[in-house]
């Protein structure tokens, strides 16, 4: 089932009925595979379908005129990388495959039909874009006001919880097969500074990062360092 992870994510916040799940699955037109470091969507494109990430890790990004890149979101299996393209139409940023990615394409006409026939499911998809927005807010707060160390710690705490929600985490470990340069672009820091911060988090016994797997060794300690409050990830299940 292609929408398994997405359904798990939605079910974490509310109950998805069998009918709704079947409607979601039926809305997928096809799957496409992308190589690591290839563009899934380019800035300025007008996609006619939204991309649901089935497997892999992807990033929304913007490149400035001087070539500097800012990654503005990291997406994992079960995330729509551009549900907003259904309504926004023209992409104001690109989406990049950080690893090999499998994408389920959901045509916008199918999303329109879903929203008309399944208002509750539609609200849950709306909620998922609201959670995306909450994550953007936390990144903004971290970039503007947290120390770089706390920002990095916050990023790792968030990614662990997001992987737990879709059931991809193994204990306190989750796949993070990206380079330090990509991590630097997500945090808006230099690669040199990121390298130093990683060393310090490792030396403090808070994390390990080996062979593309990030392990949080002391979630309490890392959360304290980050000032992490997971409220924004909407971890409670309630009728929406």
């Amino acid at each position: 089932m292609l929408v398994k992870l997405l359904t798990r994510k939605l079910n974490f916040r509310d109950s998805v009925s069998q009918t709704e799940q079947a409607a979601l699955e039926a809305a997928v037109a096809r799957t496409e595979d992308y190589a690591a470091r290839s563009d899934i969507i380019r800035e300025g494109e007008r996609p006619s379908a939204s991309s649901l990430l089935i497997e892999g890790m992807a990033a929304r990004y913007t490149i400035l005129p001087d070539g500097a890149r800012q990654i503005t979101a990291i997406h994992i299996g079960g995330d729509f990388v551009d549900l907003h393209s259904f309504l926004i139409k023209k992409m104001d940023h690109g989406v990049l495959a950080l690893t090999p990615c499998r994408i389920a394409k959901v045509p916008h006409e199918n999303l329109r039909e879903l929203s008309e026939r399944h208002p509750h499911l539609s609200r849950l998809l709306w909620l998922s874009t609201l959670i995306d927005a909450a994550i953007f807010r936390q990144w903004l707060v971290a970039m503007g006001r947290r120390s770089a160390e706390a920002q990095m710690a916050h990023f790792f705490c968030e990614l662990l919880l997001r992987h737990r929600i879709t059931g991809i985490a193994l204990g306190d470990s989750f796949p993070l097969p990206i380079t330090q340069g990509e991590l630097a672009d997500a945090l808006g820091l230099s690669a040199v500074h990121v390298n130093r911060l990683l060393k310090e988090l490792r030396a403090s016994g808070l994390i390990a990062w080996r062979e593309g797997v990030l392990s949080i060794l002391d979630f309490g300690g890392l959360g304290d360092l980050a000032g992490f409050d997971p409220t924004y990830l909407v971890l409670d299940r309630a009728p929406r």
């Binding site: 230099s190 040199v192 130093r196």
Partner: protein, 80 residues
């Protein structure tokens, strides 16, 4: 990757020296310099939030162990 130079960034601040044994693959020394200068700016930002004075250095070595670039920032603040 063969042919891509690697640079090592050793960082010193008031408290400690952090040696870099992994390094970064960069195009040339100019890019290494840019990286070092950006990093030092970011570390000063964090440093000034924690202390009212400090010295931060970034020394960039190539694979042969030759020092190629040195960046240093010092900051202090006192009541007038």
């Amino acid at each position: 990757v063969a042919g891509v130079p690697r640079y090592f960034f050793h960082i010193g601040d008031c408290e400690r020296l952090i040696t870099d044994d992994e390094g970064l693959e960069l195009i040339d020394t100019a890019e290494a310099k840019q990286q070092a200068m950006r990093a030092i700016g970011e570390m000063v930002r964090d440093g000034t939030a924690k202390a009212c004075s400090g010295v931060i250095t970034v020394e960039v070595f190539d694979t042969s162990g030759t020092l190629r670039f040195r960046a240093k920032a010092s900051f202090s603040g006192e009541l007038a």
